[in-house]
């Protein structure tokens, strides 16, 4: 991911975009690596030491939530999410433009609703803690609005990317 604009100049916006990309990649890489290691540790404890680590499953599940929500933002940047372009590609440009606007409005509408409802959910859980780890639940549920904001950012950046010269390497 470059931090340069279309004319090759490094701008604050490009730098921030690059930093967000690095952050998303680092979170995804670290959380997946941690999941693999922790599940293998659990297998070792269960079959070699004949005991289990009770808090481990809870940690792994929370890492999975983090991986998926932040990974979904990264997948938006790299166009990994499944979509169907056949109809749009074979529709007259004017109709295709109207359909795209409908799609954009629907996407933004859903993401905003998701961010709002999951923020409410996290806020309502602010006095609760996780059973095994004692971790505050607002922190766990807070991953959802956080991920939602990142997905919305990536979607909007992609939407307006052509104007600002954002370059994204295809996956």
């Amino acid at each position: 991911m470059t931090s340069k604009s279309a004319n090759g100049r490094i701008t604050p916006a490009r730098l921030a975009d690059g930093a967000i990309h690095m952050f998303e990649s680092a979170v995804c890489i670290t959380s997946l690596a941690a999941i693999v290691v922790l599940v293998l540790v659990q297998v070792f404890y269960r079959y070699v030491l004949s005991s289990g680590i009770l808090w481990l499953n809870e940690v792994v599940i929370n890492l999975m939530i983090l991986l998926v929500l932040v990974g979904a933002a990264l997948a938006t940047r790299h166009a990994v999410h499944t979509d169907l372009r056949m109809l749009l590609d074979n529709t007259p440009p004017r109709v295709a433009a109207i359909l795209r606007v409908i799609g954009v409005v629907a996407t933004i509408g859903f993401l905003v609703t998701m961010i709002w409802s999951s923020t409410t959910y996290a806020w309502e859980s602010r006095r609760l803690t996780a059973t095994m780890t004692g971790m505050p639940l607002w922190l766990v549920y807070g991953i959802m609005p956080f991920g939602g904001v990142l997905i919305l950012y990536e979607f909007l950046a992609k939407l307006f990317g052509g104007l600002s010269g954002r370059s994204v390497e295809p996956s």
Binding site: M64, G71, R100, G109, Y141
Partner: protein
Amino acid sequence: MIAGLILILLLFVLIMIGVPVYISLGVAGTVGLAVISMGQTFGNPFIAIPQSIYSGIGFFPLLAIPLFIFAGEIMNRSGITDRLVRFSVMLIGRMPASLANANIVASMFFGGITGSAQADTSAIGGVLIPAMEKEGYSKEISVAVTASSSTVGPIIPPSIMMVIYGVSVGTSIGALFIAGLVPGILIGLALIATVLILDRKHKFPRRTGSLPFSEKVAITRDAFWPLGMPLIIVGGILGGVVTPTEAGALAVLYALIFGYLIERSLKVADMPVMLKHTAMLTAAVMMIISCAKILSYVLTIFQLPMMLGSFFQAFSENPIIFLLLVNILLLVIGTFMDGGASVIIMAPILTPIALSYGIDPIHFGVIMVLNLIIGCGTPPLGLCLFIACGIAKLPVEKGAKAILPFIAAEIFILLLVTYIPWLAMALPRYFGFAS
């Protein structure tokens, strides 16, 4: 009922106009929640969105999905494709339409390692579509064989769709894995039979040379390690030694040992790339599952499952007719919608009805997955067909026409598996997973 059907229609419209599948599912679910909120004076129905997302992702058995994807990614980058293709070519030997049949066999092996139809199309197609064209096959046949055989991947264990079904209806994932083995092999054999029938008309190229014994030994030795992975997964689960999630972790360990210590084709710098790619693929699959849960919840509030159940019971009390209707319904859904999302939405609706007809949930799971994977090879959402056409630079319309005989063969096997439950249930019963 009407509201539920309108939401499903809205979902299809959004998918058709290019909105990502997970967003389309989320929008349809959110509109449903908005309708519910109009008739509700207390509480916040939109809380179902984070609840569904959290429960859709945060379930321990679903961890098998990133682990299987990661294991497949490591094996793929380690260079197993060439080894499996050479092994398949050797097995097929001088059979008519040798390379086309080797393509099908390679996909069956590859499916046992990655469990993903799209990964299979990209990897095997990338090697074999140009090779088939070079040997004299038409682009249409090369695409049709590659795209149709790739769909075997989600049936032969490990299978991501089987994991999703098992989690959705609370059935043993190990039992589902082993139940998919015979139908997967049958689909492979049916595709080979289709190639041989088409060979009578088209006279496909046939290999004439024979490999020296020493080379055959070398090729078999090369294929030994990649083919060991499905044995560990299936063997571990069947032996009751590990759960599917743990089998996924062991598969990752096995793949790492293969890539870094045995084959030594991977570098340390490859690790972040593989992790990042796996994370994105996992997120894409899991977001579809979690957003499908929102819609599934809304459809339950609208009592669609109950009404559909009453409809089936009123239509016929005969399980044969019920299964025929289910096959038609799922084949149509499979062509329009992502397989994972279809399972999340349809499995909780249809499986209880199937149980009321006396159909085993494991058998029903295999029927469901078979129906939905056939859609991977057909437009409008035939991802395998799109990938194969992209590799061959062939218009999708031509690929879609060429794949029809292969789709017919798959539907034939689907009907066999539907009406001869023994084909899916023999192995689970033998290993004590079903009575």
